[in-house]
């Protein structure tokens, strides 16, 4: 039982780190996209709404990153043996749901769209991986709580 708890805690620690890493990746990806596709963004948003779009997008990405950090650090903390509230799992669930929707949209774009196929495939792979990690994180967190409960009985 102790070995199972240790293994699950270790998994949770690693998964928490990966969630933070993927959050960081999203931030970097958006920054690079923003600078590379500067003209395209102006074309789409129009010059008047440009700054609003930019600030709003940055805000959303940053909030998403913060949420990921909260989820990731909570998972790491729980992986080190500390007890954490269920709140981070709720956020993890929300991010998972959003990611699921994003992946569905990417799959549709892959089928329907003809541009940047390689980019779409790579993005899909990364997003699916991120989704798997989030699901694994939630599974391991629930597992640990169950094991601890069984252990205390």
């Amino acid at each position: 039982m102790e070995a199972k708890i240790r293994r699950t805690q270790d998994n949770l620690f690693v998964l928490g780190t990966s969630v933070i890493a993927f959050g960081l990746w999203n931030l970097i990806k958006f920054t690079v996209y923003f600078f590379v596709n500067f003209d395209e963004i102006i074309q789409v948003t129009g010059e008047k709404s440009y700054w609003f779009s930019v600030i709003f997008s940055w805000l959303m990405i940053f909030i998403s990153f913060l949420i990921r950090c909260y989820v990731g650090f909570s998972a790491r903390s729980e992986g080190k043996g500390k007890h954490k509230s269920v709140l981070y799992l709720v956020f993890a669930g929300l991010i998972t749901f959003v990611y699921f929707l994003v992946i569905v949209c990417e799959c549709i774009y892959f089928v329907v769209g003809n541009e940047r196929i390689v980019t779409v495939i790579v993005t899909l792979i990364i997003d699916v991986t991120s989704l798997v990690f989030l699901v694994e994180l939630m599974v391991n967190s629930i597992k640990i709580r169950k094991l601890r409960k069984d252990g205390s009985k």
Binding site: E2, A3, K4, R6, R7
Partner: protein, 386 residues
């Protein structure tokens, strides 16, 4: 094991086994010498490099960790310091052959190879006895680690707790590891030195018990940790108990080698010593100090009634260097070198015969005719003499 155990404690065990003072000194010297007989020293003596029983940190830093380099490292460390317990052990769960081969090199006491090691020294020189005792003692101290560089076997993590006896059983204190080769271990604050983490599977940092620092070599310490091979199961290492077993098994083994017993069986210990001696051995092993040389020396001198000289690594070197080529095997170091070659040859052969090529290839020269390293011809000459 620490140098104090390999020299003075072995001397004490030899005296208790019935050896004379001079014989006990020769045995103890050879035991200690196993930790010093490196390729560098042998090249200084113009002795066969194949007889190296250890590797200096600088030699290891220079070692390549390709397949040939790894086999060379494994041959030395598995033969003399991390004798495998069970070459046919099966790990839990499914694993690759590569992992299985490394798992099978995990050191532990009372294995078949230990029996072979002790029997190999039967009827041989005091140097062979001393070398066998070194290997025997290290099977207790270095158990749970393998004599091959492997992250998946020898790595440890932050989960490392020292256990102190208390009224309710034991209290735990977390061990802090640092990477300072020059600073001595801090026993009061449980701060110890260990090797740096390297995520490369075959890095030298992952050889033997480097990741656990010197903890396996301290007789007084009791601790628990999670070895990489252990599947998150906790290992409790009770060094006082292990060292006591090692000591009395050495007495038993040396009595067998003297002819007092007909056979050598594993998991057998000779505790036919006076209560005073038992108490003193127990006290020395359990005393919390980095070096117990003075205590062991005092006990040894009390047992034999003779003065035990300090270990001097240069003592027998000029004898070997000045001897004629055909007389070198009869010198003190010459006999040690022959014993080392025999031990290395035996262990490498056993590992190879089990289907494991981590220690390289081995040929039975009696069956196949002689092929191989020139240095091992001296073993053939020895066989012919017998």
């Amino acid at each position: 094991m620490n140098s104090d155990f390999h020299y003075y404690a072995t001397y004490c065990a030899a005296v208790l086994a019935g050896y004379t003072h001079d014989e006990s000194l020769a045995i103890a010297y050879s035991d200690r010498f196993v930790d010093l007989c490196s390729k560098t020293m042998l090249s200084k003596l113009k002795a066969p490099a194949a007889a190296a029983t250890t590797q200096l940190p600088l030699e290891m830093a220079d070692m390549r960790t390709d397949i040939v380099g790894l086999q060379h490292i494994t041959r030395i460390w598995s033969s003399f310091h991390f004798l495998p317990r069970d070459l046919y052990a099966e790990p839990q769960g499914r694993c690759s052959k590569r992992y299985k081969n490394k798992y099978r090199l995990i050191c532990g006491p009372n294995g078949e190879l230990l029996k072979e090691t002790v029997k190999l020294a039967k009827g041989k020189s005091m140097q062979a006895v001393g070398l066998a005792m070194h290997v025997l003692a290290d099977t207790w101290a270095h158990q749970y680690f393998a004599g091959t560089p492997s992250l998946v076997i020898n790595n440890t993590n932050r989960y490392f707790y020292e256990l102190f006896p208390s009224e309710d059983g034991y209290t735990e204190k977390k061990i802090t590891f640092r990477h300072s080769a020059t600073s001595p271990d801090d026993l009061d604050n449980s701060v110890y030195t260990c090797s740096l983490f390297s995520n490369s599977e075959n890095s030298i940092m992952n050889l033997g018990h480097g990741r656990a620092g010197h903890l396996p070599d301290y007789g007084f310490i009791k601790y628990k940790y999670l070895p990489a091979w252990g599947n998150y199961e906790e290992i409790l290492k009770d060094n006082p108990s292990d060292y006591t077993h090692a000591f009395y098994q050495m007495v038993y083994a040396m009595k067998f080698l003297r002819g007092a017993y007909e056979s050598f069986e594993v998991d057998t210990y000779d505790t036919e010593v006076s209560e005073d001696v038992q108490k003193e051995v127990n006290r020395i092993i359990n005393t919390r100090q980095l070096n117990s040389s003075d205590d062991w020396k005092a006990l040894g001198e009390k047992l034999s009634g003779c003065e035990i000289e300090e270990f001097d690594v240069d003592k027998y070197q000029s004898e070997y260097k000045d001897a004629d080529k055909d007389k070198k095997d009869d010198t003190f170091l010459g006999k040690f070198i022959l014993s080392a070659l025999a031990q290395k040859s035996m262990v490498t052969n056993k590992i190879y015969s089990s289907g494991n090529k981590l220690a390289g290839y081995s040929i039975d020269y009696e069956d196949k005719g002689f092929k191989g390293i020139k240095a091992y011809k001296s073993l053939v000459r020895e066989e012919d003499k017998v």
